[in-house]
Amino acid sequence: MSRRMRMLVLGPALLGLGALFAWAIAGLAAFGDYRGPYGFVLNRVVVPLRHTTNVVMGTTFDVRGLDTMGEEFILYAALVGVTLLLRDETRSRQAERRTSRLDDDAVRLVGVAMIGGGLLVGLWLMAFGYITPGGGFQGGVLAAGAVLLLYLVGSHRDYRPFRNEHFLDPLEAVGAGGYIVIGLAALVSGTAFLTNLFGLGTTGTLVSSGSIALLNWASAIAVSCAMVLLFAEFLETYVVPLEPGDAAS
């Protein structure tokens, strides 16, 4: 289709979709009047049953823990996929890796401070996720971002150790696989997959919620590693060839 033609077909289609949406919205309960059973039951039972004050995390890692297992693997598959798709890209860049160093010490100092701050906040989010807002995913992305600041404020070389697949790939696998292993442990002990096995502890403290904490940490490890590796895969491509001859690949 020519672009003009496409617009002519798209317009009525979007109008039709809009009409459908409008029809659906007319059947929805007014904003704020929602009284579906599922969430309200969980709001009442999760805290007493699982000793976690953050019901969202209780839902994510316990009641609907299987969804989160799938989610970890979506991230994992994306990482593997991006590595697969960019393998030519990375290979051709290996020979000509070049960095533009930042010379301003003040900027670097601020950067280092931010790295420290980012890591701390990231760890805090991971650790207290099942008590207050936060959790493995949020903390993991933040920590990964902080680690990658090393790349941005420093030079590529400084950052290499953190982008060592030989170290991070197994760790990533431990995170993602660990989630399943915790689930399997429950299965082996004779209960359902992903059953919360461990002592529930005192509500509102770090030693609460049983395997939610473990699953949270497994996903924190998986997400941090996946994000670092994923970003690194892309950041390899930050290196712009400076000489015309470099672009030959």
Partner: protein, 114 residues
């Protein structure tokens, strides 16, 4: 009776689809895809909001007090992760397309058809 939240969600979805269909740049298209997806978060969270409700985190509040639906929030969390995974993959493909054809125009990389 207020339906604005739902209308906003539908609007975002349509805008995103229009952007995807007319995009001339794969990177732009990938971002439009995340815009389309953001309509599902807006709809989910609007659906689960409860009048005068607090966040479903019971620190300092009594269990059983009015709170928003935690399920839609858990679903949104998963949805956000999906969006990161998908945009990363599509951008990786865009880079490949660019390396091979020098173009990120979706109309320009149509190598096979018919």
């Amino acid at each position: 009776m207020s339906y604005l939240p739902y209308v906003v969600a539908a609007w975002i979805c349509l805008v995103g689809i229009a952007g995807m269909a007319t995009s001339r740049n794969l990177i732009h298209l990938a971002v439009c895809l995340t815009v389309t997806q953001s309509s599902s978060y807006v709809l989910l969270l609007s659906v689960g909001y409860v009048k005068h409700g607090k966040a479903p985190i019971f620190v300092g509040t009594k269990v059983g007090s009015t709170a928003a639906d935690p399920v839609v929030q858990a679903l949104t969390l998963t949805d956000v992760v999906v969006s990161v995974a998908v945009i990363a993959l599509i951008l990786a493909l865009a880079l490949d397309a660019h390396r091979l054809s020098g173009s990120v125009d979706p109309d320009g990389i149509a190598d096979i058809s018919g």
